[in-house]
């Protein structure tokens, strides 16, 4: 196992006379034994980053270091990383057993030894009964397990998992999340996991790196990302349902400093207000998570009224889509309450849950 360090890494694709700057000045450290997720929307450069770590793509500039050794010029064969692919990339002409054993075969390990290790690992992943089958006869979940097993069969510097749960559906996904977590704990290995689904990242990772348009926007634990998102994008991307945003002006009304969006006035904390006061800007983007819009008052909460538009029942909780004047936003409510469309509702929030972003740079101010 090894520490993986990316330093000032850039990747520029050139083709047909145009350049695509896929990854910009990326600095990222994945410590030995750490589980790091790289998340971001499609086209943010996360797969490119991962392919550069594996060696399937050459970095245009910058350094990629494994335990301090630069590996930029090494082929994937020489880098000793294991990768599980989004589309499984199983060898169709091999049985599951041959697929899993292939990395060992490539290292010239004798057949008996290969067999033993494949069967051991198959027990762990509960795929012992499908070892003789060819990939075409396997279900998506089984293929994914075989593909994971092929990555896990050897002791690489790092495991790279590319959207491995992308094609796995609902129930199985939870099982696989659990399995991955358990594997990471028992192997104590460096794992880099790429996903567009922030839920998976939050469930699995020690640390999450958020990429947006080729740049690393923020990296940190899930609490850091959740509570102090560096930009509006992170606040929007992390958390489900996504954060509510309002274009607001910082004004003084009747002696109170408020953030006014249409006819909704949100009261910031004194600390935030002080920080906003010291700035020239008056225009901001205010964010508040649906989880922080409460239906029952608590200590220190401030309330406002709204009207229910849509009520989505999700079992243990409900998502309410609400309106107030020209604003539309969402709140999470308990499932027990009886919510009907077009009925009025009183919502409560704590001033410290309000996030304020710069309208231009979209960076977090407070």
């Amino acid at each position: 196992m090894a520490e993986v360090r990316l330093s000032e890494v850039n990747k520029v694709y050139e083709g047909r006379g145009q350049q695509v700057h896929a990854v910009r000045d990326l600095d990222l450290v994945v410590e030995d034994g750490e589980f790091v997720s790289i998340v971001g929307p499609s086209g943010c450069g996360k797969s490119t980053t991962l392919r550069m770590i594996v060696g399937l793509e050459q970095a245009t500039s910058g350094q990629i270091l494994f335990d301090g050794d630069m590996v930029n010029d090494l082929d994937p064969q020489e880098r000793n990383v294991a990768m599980a692919f989004e589309n499984y990339a199983l060898y169709p002409n091999f049985s599951a057993e041959e697929n899993i054993g292939f990395p060992l075969e490539a290292r010239g390990i004798p057949k008996q030894e290969r067999r033993r290790r494949v069967h051991e690992l198959a027990e762990l992943l509960q795929i012992g009964n499908i070892l003789h089958q060819h990939p075409n006869t396997l279900s998506g979940g089984q293929k994914q397990r075989v593909s994971l097993a092929r990555a896990l069969i050897r002791e690489p510097a790092a495991f790279i998992l590319d959207e491995v749960l992308g094609h796995v559906d609902g129930h199985l996904r939870f099982q696989m999340l659990f399995d991955l977590k358990r594997l990471h704990q028992s192997l104590d290995s460096t794992m880099i996991f790429v996903t567009h689904d922030q839920m998976e990242a939050i469930a699995l990772s020690d640390r999450i790196a958020v990429l947006h348009q080729g740049r690393l926007v923020q990296s940190g634990t899930r609490d850091e990302l959740y509570d102090t998102p560096a930009t509006r994008f992170v606040a929007d991307f992390i958390g489900e349902p996504p954060t509510n945003f309002f274009d607001a002006r910082f004004v003084e009304e009747g002696g109170e400093e408020t953030l006014r969006a249409d006819d909704l006035a949100l009261r910031p904390t004194a600390e935030t207000a002080a920080r906003l006061r010291s700035r020239d800007d008056r225009r901001y983007v205010v964010g508040i998570r649906p989880q922080n819009l409460l239906c029952t008052p608590r200590a220190g909460t401030i309330s406002f009224d709204a009207t229910i538009d849509i009520h989505e029942y999700l079992g243990e909780r409900s998502i309410l889509t609400l309106r107030r004047g020209g604003l539309s936003f969402q709140a999470l409510a308990s499932a027990e309450g009886s919510w009907a469309a077009d009925e009025p509702i009183t919502l409560h929030y704590r001033p410290e849950d309000i996030m304020v972003f710069d309208a231009e740079s979209e960076a977090l101010i407070a």
């Binding site: 990768m83 589309n87 060898y91 006869t137 989505e312």
Partner: protein, 343 residues
């Protein structure tokens, strides 16, 4: 949050069976715009049930006329004592398997079978082997699409020439006294004296070389397109798994291409059975029948010497051998495909 607007025709419940009663003509105003735009004409797609029958029936009738009828006629000839003389006299009798006996016991036929085997192994097989190697080398070494296309076109050029012209061309090139090949070999000092390219024991090799030159590009094309069809992600997986290029070739590329290579073999083997053109143009089977193949003898006996009965027997024997070989090939293909759960 997506809210589905449940408009338009939907399938009711979970019943997905379609009975005749559920097939109905949608009125034009019931159909969405994008569908009408894509569909183009407003004419109904449902046709009279006789239309498909006629469309399939006509080619079947044509095939019956140009394939089945001559084959049966040929079988009839094969069992009759029929040649130019008896044909004109109009009296030819049923002679059973005499024609077949005559063919199978003749030294000429035995010789031609040995020639055919030699041609299959050093002509057809080499073509597929060289073609496969070229295809994989081109795919591996040339990454640029434009460069690939140029090389592809150059390599495929020989196949575009008429086979008989290729024969004439190579007869000139191989001309022992003033042919380009002898001259070239002399000039670079590989040989000291002219090689007699069309003597006994050499002429079939000469034909084989010309045939390889012309037809290697067919298996090359087939294998190249097959290689293009293999998913790149598998090769990335192999690289990450640490497989050397040779191991990748041996364990992944060749096994995955084996159906494609088998198809190339089938095509070249089929052609081998009817291989007449270059033999006719380059050596006329000579000298002393040393470069004759069965199909050439059938042609010689039937069209030149009007021994129609015997030629028909030749044709039938070739036909049966071809059927056996192709059946074996197809059975192999099916087994391979079934093992991979494709078919």
């Amino acid at each position: 949050m997506a809210v589905s607007t449940g408009e338009g025709p939907t399938r009711g419940g979970t019943d997905y069976t379609v009975s005749a009663a559920t097939i109905r003509h949608w009125q034009d105003d019931e159909l969405p715009e994008w569908f009408k735009k894509k569909r183009g004409s407003t004419r109904s797609l449902i046709v009279n049930r006789w239309v498909p029958r006629v469309m399939v029936g006509v080619p079947i009738a044509v095939l019956l006329f140009i394939v089945a009828y001559p084959t049966v006629q040929m079988a009839y000839y094969a069992f009759h004592d029929i040649n130019m003389v008896s044909l004109f006299k109009g009296d030819y009798g049923l002679i059973g398997f005499t024609n077949f006996e005559r063919v199978l016991t003749s030294d000429r036929f035995h010789g031609s079978v040995i020639h055919l085997i030699q041609y299959l192994f050093f002509g057809a097989v080499l073509q597929v082997v060289i073609g496969t190697a070229l295809a994989l080398i081109l795919h591996h070494c040339v990454r640029n699409n434009a460069a690939r296309l140029v090389i592809l076109v150059i390599l495929v050029m020989p196949m575009m020439l008429p086979p008989s012209i290729v024969g004439v061309l190579w007869r000139f090139l191989f001309n022992p006294s003033n042919g380009a090949i002898n001259q070239a070999l002399l000039d670079i000092g590989l040989i000291q004296a002219h090689i007699e390219w069309f003597q006994i024991g050499v002429s079939l090799w000469t034909i084989t070389i010309a045939d390889i030159w012309e037809w290697t590009s067919l298996p090359f094309l087939i294998v190249f397109s097959g290689r293009l069809g293999l998913p790149p992600s598998i090769y990335e997986a192999a690289r990450v798994d640490g497989a050397s290029p040779f191991l990748t070739l041996r364990r992944i590329t060749l096994p995955m291409l084996k159906e494609v290579i088998a198809i190339a073999f089938i095509i070249r083997f089929m052609d081998a059975y009817k291989f007449v053109d270059k033999v006719y143009v380059m050596t006329s089977g000579g000298p002393a029948q040393s470069s004759e193949l069965p199909a050439y003898i059938a042609y010689q006996r039937g069209v030149r010497e009007f021994e129609i009965g015997e030629a028909a027997a030749y044709a039938w024997i070739i036909f049966l051998f071809a059927i056996i070989l192709i059946t074996l090939f197809l059975r192999y293909l099916k087994r391979v495909l079934r093992a991979q759960a494709i078919a």
